[in-house]
Amino acid sequence: MENENQLKDNTLSLFLISYPQKELDTNTHIIDIMGGEKLVPDDTVKAKREMDLEKLNIKNIFSETQILFKASRYSFVNVDKIEEEINNKIYILRNSVRDFTLLNIIIGPFVDLNLEETNEEILSLTQSLIGVFRRTEFQKETEIIADINQKIELKRNLEKLSKFYNWQILEEGSLRGKREDSEITPVITSAFLVRAQIIKDRMKCIGECQKIYSKDSTPEGVRCECGGDLVLISPDLNLEEISFGYPEDLVEIVGENNVESPSRLFKYLQNSEIPKDLISSISQFSALKLQNLITIPTKVKYQVKATSDIIDLTIGYKKQESDELMVFGFISDTRYNDTRLISAESLNKIMNAIYANLTNQTAWEETIKKTDLENWKVTPFVKIKYIEKYPSLKDTHAIENRGAGNE
């Protein structure tokens, strides 16, 4: 019971829903916050944090394309002591049905939230809330209730459903542990290594303009040019260069039209980053002590809209120099089934081998070839800001040799 209470006290769970308000052509946002006493000490703090979060454009967070963001797990890294193990993990789950969007952010001292099962629960929760939305929308149209009643009803039901959801995580434990297997075992289609720079000491205006200042551009004093208060926000990662690994006969296996370009592959990683607005809003829960921490995704799940196939990112990181990190990962995919592709069941072994052998970025190709992926090709490092210039993975070899990727 003591552990259960500790878990509840130290966990923050945020639910955000967004739905269109037809008459005004805008979206209405509803927020529900649940957290221990230190995190949410009273209703005033809770109301203030809810107002902060309402300013976010939830609908555009992890915005939708043909590949939908579903769930992710992040590790916190202390920028001053990278090797230090931080207990807290952050999980984000998202579901959108037509214009109705639901986002859940949960931060807590547990590493085992089962993303597959939690995602199923989020789908069921969204469906339940859409039912409430449909009924109240009908009642609004027939003038039985007003707009505000719809919002009140949705909020009341969100609170009830989120209580059940949090209970399943923190007390019943049914959404934690167990293997995160999808119905079809995916195959590994590509790998990446990113060289990233840590950016620290940034300030954010919490007044009117919400501007973020880097270390060098922060105004004198503790106030922004607009008069708003400045607060220190979490550090961030600047992704600079990237190299990809891929099976030599990838084109033959997946077909020319399905091979993803470097920029599309990079987007899987980019789209899993927690948006800065969101992370700075979460940083306002000071008891979380996020000031010196950066977040790195370690598992990300996407769903292919047309076929419901799953694309997974499994990511690790390693410190290189004082303010540099190497972020490496693999993309696995349920869309393909070819014996020349390695099953994602080998991922743990491969990740461990890379973590043990990757000493610097030049050892990347050598490290990949020491694993089950010995026949893979590895591209040269290309600058991320020019990644759009490479139409295909093969092009990175040719163009990079001609120096087109350099400034």
Binding site: S124, R134, R135, I144, N157, K163, E172
Partner: protein, 429 residues
Amino acid sequence: MSEEVRDSTEIKYIPKDVVDIIGEFRNMYSKLDSKIKQFVRTQPTFLNEIRQKLKTEIGFLSPHKKDMALSIYGIIITEDILKNYEPHFFADDISSLLNATDKKMSCTDDEFVGLLASFINILKSAKKSTEIIVQNFVDLRRMGIQRDVIETTLIQRNFSPAISEANLHFEVGEFEIDMRFLSAIFAYFIEFSLEQSESIESAESAGKLYAKIISKYPISKGEDILYDMINIVLIEPYLTQLDQSLIGVVEASPAIHKEEIKRLEPEEEISTQPAFIQGRIEKVLRIFQDSLLKRLKLGKEIDESWKMQIESNIEMILDWKAVNEFGKKDLDEQQHYLRYLFDIWFEVFEEYPQMSLPIIEIEQFTKFIDDPDIFMEETKKAIKHKLTSILQEKTKDDGFTPRSLAVAFTSVSFELLTNPEVLSITFGE
């Protein structure tokens, strides 16, 4: 923690597989037409009496459909599908059923039979589901879980899958049904349970409840309304009353409750017995299924533990059925035990018709193979007669006690399962 306490993740309603629901529909549909005709032929007095009683209530039906509907009422009553089902409740329900489907009054006779087949199946299914869910509610309350969470658990893990299953009973017959009608049937069974515990004076018919639900809940279609609809039409109006009616049961610790079950005290058992008995029957059927698989496909022998399992389960079912009906277990009129055993036996035959093969006359063999269900229906009396003589021979001086019948039933079943004729035939999938 004692082993009696279930994990909260297990406290959920597990819906039937769609294949089973299709099978149930086909089975009911194929039998119903001949059952209706037989009822019209054999029960004219009953039909006339009911027709007089419900003169105005079912006046909207054509004379032919009226006969069909009244026969169905007769079948529901005589086959004990729903005890204490009042004729005017049935009339309300049939009228609402037609309003709740996409077919309305325009359905053909065939469609009407299909609709009635789905209706009977959903009555059976919703009755059983409600009993399971009420028991699950008791278990959740015993775990000391907060009220909000219990409510959502009941909606998401219990009523939602149960109503989806109920919806499937209509979908397999290709009928689109108003979800609110399905929830009205569940509301009826909850009210029936409250009436039994004297928490309310009398339950209203599902038809009347459907009319009330329509005025309260405006949307009729889509699985996405399940949470909201169940919350508004089942949880908000009934959960507090249900909770109060079950205080005594909740407060008895699970260990004590199990002891009470052993002592078969009728007062505490009434609310849990039907689901319990059904669970036992299903267990016996599962053991049979395993035995058939082992015998037919794997050629394995049946061992002593099988006999013991069947014997103890059958004995317990017979005892429980007696307590359920008469409030005590040592009945003076032993014919009741025989009746209970036949109920079980015919459920076994329904699932595994080949088990009846050695009992039927050789000249009826072809008819049996053509359609075992219809054959069973038509020769039920003769089969019962034959089984009675077999049982008399087996039980001899012991008479028909739960123990002697359980031993005899197991012995006969063992002989059937080792009979080459039984082993040579497969029905269905």
